[in-house]
């Protein structure tokens, strides 16, 4: 069944990301960086509004 192949393929792809996250701890900062950038941007925009 082709759908099973797609679902399996997607799972493997995501598993690949998880393996990278587990075995290369240094990448974790990179993975998480956007959320901190987002907070920084929000703070900047808020300050802009307040000023």
């Amino acid at each position: 069944m082709i759908v099973n192949l797609i679902v399996g393929g997607v799972t493997l792809l995501m598993l690949l990301f998880v393996l990278v996250w587990i075995f290369f701890p240094a990448t974790r900062n990179w993975f998480e960086r956007p959320k901190h950038r987002f907070m920084e941007t929000e703070r900047m925009m808020d300050e802009k509004h307040k000023s």
Binding site: M1, I2, V3, N4, I6, V7, V10, L13, M14, F17, V18, V20, W21, F24, A26, T27, R28, N29, W30, F31, E32, R33, P34, K35, H36, R37, F38, M39, E40, T41, E42, R43, M44, M45, D46, K48, H49, K50, S51
Partner: protein, 908 residues
């Protein structure tokens, strides 16, 4: 470009935000949600009072239902999402949106070129009978143009920035806009050009993609934005959020076919959709867990900040609705709840509970941060509680209602029993709309009254506790690390490309491939003698589509035992091959119509269309009186066309002998056994309907040895059943003076002037009368049928006296007259089995089983019986001959074989 400080701000660090467009879309969203909710409430009221706003084609149930869904989808959620996009995209991409002028152009086109004209067109009968795709093609083109503009306006800023650093909300927004641009034309235009089951495999995808690729990603993206922005803390894990994002976009497009489980779409595609649906449920657990973990320790903020509370409630409902969706894709659950109000509860939980709550959360968050907007936390708080109470009531009510309907449909209960059982749930649903409407009105107040937001944002108590600077933890990637993992920068982009590839694959797997399979199956199984629809039937089909009939009546007998028992042979793929687009439907308020051909006579169909309660006293179907010139026997051409279409449904199935034990088509004769089996399995999902006994068997004798007391009690019950089921045609008194009787040919029998033998009465109740509007009532419980028979006996019995016997001379004359004029149809012994009888429908009266009063028989002889083969004899027989014949034919009646009285006499 004129930029006023109040409208927008620009400098090198922070991008310009189009506050004017935010406010415009926000206010328009409020207008649209109230109008769309009113459409929904009107539709809901019509379930309880079908004639509410009746008599007008514009305000009919089906057309308003179209307006409700498209209004919520594009008018309310579309505008709310756009308002949020104008607020969030500059913050996420650190670039302004492409053009303010483009924004205003889009605002005008979205609302005044798409939603409002779409409503007007649908209310005037220009629409498409496909779930979530009701706008007519001309509006579809405007929608597609809008989505192209959306890409220009919102996708381009992201592409101008660095995608590798993009926050998860940006990814969701990118995905929603690009994927919906691709999915919309496929789901909305293709079914217009690809017919029947083949088109259904495309439209099924859009039913789900509309939610999965537009509503869901935007709402989830908003939640990922509002949660950290309101709590002042970053989300729990950006890594998990991206895993959830990719899984959603990879798997969601594979879900759509789960709307057509047990259909003629190849079973492999159905199974694939089920697998993907369950998998998606697991993904949603991941997404919502990550979001709820992001809220850990923020209980106070959730309680105090209404925007955050709406968002929190929305994502909790996202989890519930997704797990519910995964469960209802499973065959055992789907078999029970599909087409019931359970699905309506599910869709309201998705669109009102999840999407609208998060959209409101997003809007309120934007509002209190947008200069010039007014914001009232108090009104917002009222809105939250009113909407929550209304939604909870509606969801619980319709879920239980759906389960009740499913159980009743699975049983042998009559269809009307499920309608009657649903009434309390429909009424409760209507009541639940009161707090919901009040909640939306409070939302309008929250965003239009209160303190005006100035240069500084409106602050709620919870906002004061946010110490943004301390909570933000900037992370710098060291240069060597950046070089080492440079490949990861492009990993997301590559995954994005893979996502689009997967999206394309989903269409190949669930639409294009099933299409090819179906083409082969149809070529193998479609009989060469299948009759195409006539011009009249095609015009009738267009009326069926524009009135939204497909939203209450499915045209798909599923390959389940109880569908087959109730509606007839399973629908085959080839049977809807002429249908552009297919109208399989997604819900059953009324019964399935796929096998409607030959079920009812034309006059019944016309009377039923004019006023359903004329012939089905407890019906809740709206009347379509504007298709008539004032009365059911004066139909317009539209009414005749519509009835012609209804009578054509399933005709080819009958011609092909479906339901009998034989091969489906002549063309299969040339196939090998294996090919025939494969073709059969392909379109019925391996379901073997021949194993289901379809024969109701002979009519059971409905009379018994009752005591007088029992007989009176039975007749009393029978009277109530008679009023509920029969009075539309026969009147409460059984004397057939009801309005519906006037337009039926032959007229319903006046039960006070004929006496039916017990055998004949049992047969008529069990099997109906072919060629008349009298349906078979075998679906009623036997006890009900016995009670009905007792009541009918009671109302006819007192009218009779023992007929006086004929003299010898009279007998000779009468026998001669009868043999000459009557025996051809009524048979030599008056048993209705003359030479011509077999060709007549209804069959000639059997005087052996039916004793008329002298007056009625004389009138029938004199004037004939319109709608039957009985002509008037006034000019051919003298009055004395007619009178003699009346006495003669009454002598055929075999009272002895009918009554318990006789049996009782014998026993004495």
């Amino acid at each position: 470009m004129n930029i006023t400080p109040n409208e927008s701000t620009t400098d090198l660090l922070t991008p310009r935000v189009e506050n004017g467009l935010i406010r415009a879309h926000g206010y328009m969203a409020l207008v649209m949600v109230v109008i769309s909710a009113l459409f929904g409430i009107a539709v809901s009221i019509k379930f309880n009072w079908p004639e509410f706003l009746g008599g007008s084609s514009v305000m009919t149930w089906g057309r308003m239902r179209y307006c409700h869904t498209q209004g919520i989808f594009f008018g309310w959620l579309g505008n709310a999402f756009l308002a949020f996009l104008y607020y969030a995209v500059p913050r996420l991409s650190m670039k302004p949106v492409s053009s303010r002028s483009l924004g205003w152009l889009m605002f005008v086109v979205w609302n005044f070129g798409m939603v409002i004209p779409g409503w007007m067109l649908m209310m005037h009968g220009f629409s498409q009978p496909l779930e979530w795709a009701e706008f007519p093609i001309i509006v579809d083109i405007v929608v597609i143009a809008c989505f192209v503009l959306l890409n220009l306006q919102f996708v381009v800023p992201f592409l101008r920035g660095k995608l590798s650093d993009l926050y998860v909300t940006g990814w969701y927004f990118l995905g929603a806009i690009t994927f919906t641009t691709l999915a919309y034309p496929v789901g909305n235009l293709v079914p217009e050009f690809v017919p029947g089951a083949r088109g259904a495999s495309f439209s099924g995808l859009w039913i789900h993609d509309s939610i999965g690729l537009w509503v869901t990603p935007l709402a989830v993206g908003i939640a990922y934005f509002v949660i950290p922005a309101s709590t002042g803390r970053p989300i729990y894990s950006h890594f998990l959020s991206m895993i959830g994002f990719w899984l959603l976009f990879f798997v969601y497009p594979l879900n759509g076919t789960h709307h057509y489980i047990f259909s003629s779409i190849p079973m492999e595609a159905q199974m694939g959709a089920i697998v993907a649906s369950v998998y998606l449920g697991m993904d949603v657990i991941l997404v919502v867990t990550n979001q709820l973990l992001s809220l850990r320790g923020s209980t106070g903020k959730v309680a105090a900040n209404v925007a955050l509370r709406f968002t929190w409630a929305g994502i909790v409902m996202y989890l519930i609705v997704s797990l519910q969706g995964a469960a209802q894709a499973l065959m055992p659950v789907n078999k029970l709840v599909h087409f019931t109000d359970w699905v309506i509860a599910h869709s309201h939980l998705a669109l009102l509970g999840f999407a609208s709550f998060v959209a409101i959360g997003g809007l309120l968050h934007v509002w209190k941060n947008t200069a010039g907007a007014r914001y009232s936390p108090r009104a917002a708080n009222w809105s939250f509680w009113l909407l929550s109470v209304g939604l909870f009531l509606m969801f619980i009510d319709l879920t239980i209602g759906g389960l009740v309907q499913g159980q009743l449909w699975e049983s042998s209960a009559s269809w009307m029993e499920s309608v009657n059982a649903s009434r309390i749930f429909w009424m409760t649903r209507t009541l639940s709309s009161i707090p919901i409407l009040a909640g939306f009105i409070c939302l309008c107040l929250a965003m239009t009254v209160g303190e005006r937001v100035g240069a500084s944002q409106a602050e709620e108590p919870a906002d004061a506790s946010i110490e943004a600077v301390n909570l933000v933890r900037p992370v710098a990637v060291l240069p060597e690390e950046a070089g080492k993992f440079a490949w990861l920068r492009s990993a997301y982009v590559l995954t994005g490309v893979a996502g689009i590839g997967c999206f394309a694959m989903s269409f190949l797997v669930l639409a294009v491939w099933p299409n090819q399979e179906l083409s082969r199956t149809i070529a193998q199984t479609k009989p060469a003698f299948a009759v195409p629809m006539t011009e009249s039937e095609l015009r009738g089909r267009a009326i069926y589509a524009r009135e939204g009939c497909a939203y209450c009546h499915t045209q798909m007998v599923r390959s389940t035992e109880f569908d087959t028992r109730r509606f007839g042979p399973v629908s085959r793929a080839w049977e809807t091959e002429d249908e552009y687009p297919q109208m399989w439907g997604t819900r059953r308020v009324g019964p399935d119509l796929a096998r409607e051909t030959r079920k009812r006579p034309t006059d019944w169909q016309l009377t039923h269309l004019y006023s359903p309660r004329y012939v089905v006293p407890e019906s809740m179907m709206p009347g379509y009186s504007w298709l008539f010139n004032g009365s059911p026997d004066s139909p317009t051409e539209d009414a005749l066309n519509l009835v012609a279409y209804l009578e054509s449904l399933g005709r080819n199935g009958v011609l092909a002998g479906l339901g009998r034990s034989r091969l489906e088509s002549t063309s299969t004769m040339e196939l090998t056994t294996g090919e025939v089996v494969a073709a059969g399995n392909a379109h019925t999902g391996g379901f073997d309907e021949s194993l289901i006994p379809m024969d109701r068997g002979p009519a059971p004798m409905l009379a018994g040895k009752w005591s007088e007391r029992e007989r009176a009690s039975l007749a009393n019950d029978g009277h109530k059943l008679f009023i509920a089921n029969c009075s539309g045609c026969h009147s409460d008194c059984g004397c057939s003076i009801a309005p519906g009787a006037a337009s039926l040919f032959p007229k319903p029998k006046d039960l006070t002037v004929v006496r039916l033998s017990e055998t004949h009465l049992s047969d008529v109740l069990w099997n109906g009368i072919e060629g008349s509007s009298m349906p078979a009532w075998s679906e009623l419980p036997l006890s009900d049928l016995r009670a009905l028979a007792a009541f009918v006996n009671q109302i006819s019995k007192p009218k009779y006296e023992t007929p006086p016997s004929l003299t010898a001379n009279e007998l000779v004359t009468a026998t001669k007259l009868y043999s000459t004029h009557c025996a051809l149809c009524h048979g030599a012994q008056g048993q209705g089995d003359g030479i011509s009888a077999a060709a007549l429908a209804p069959r000639p009266t059997s005087f052996y089983d039916e004793l008329p009063t002298i007056k009625f028989a004389a009138e029938a002889l004199k004037s004939g019986i319109p709608g039957t083969a009985m002509v008037h004899w006034n000019t051919k027989l003298t009055e004395s001959e007619q009178a003699l014949l009346v006495r003669y034919l009454r002598s055929f009646y075999q009272a002895a074989k009918t009554t318990n009285d006789k049996l009782r006499e014998n026993s004495k």
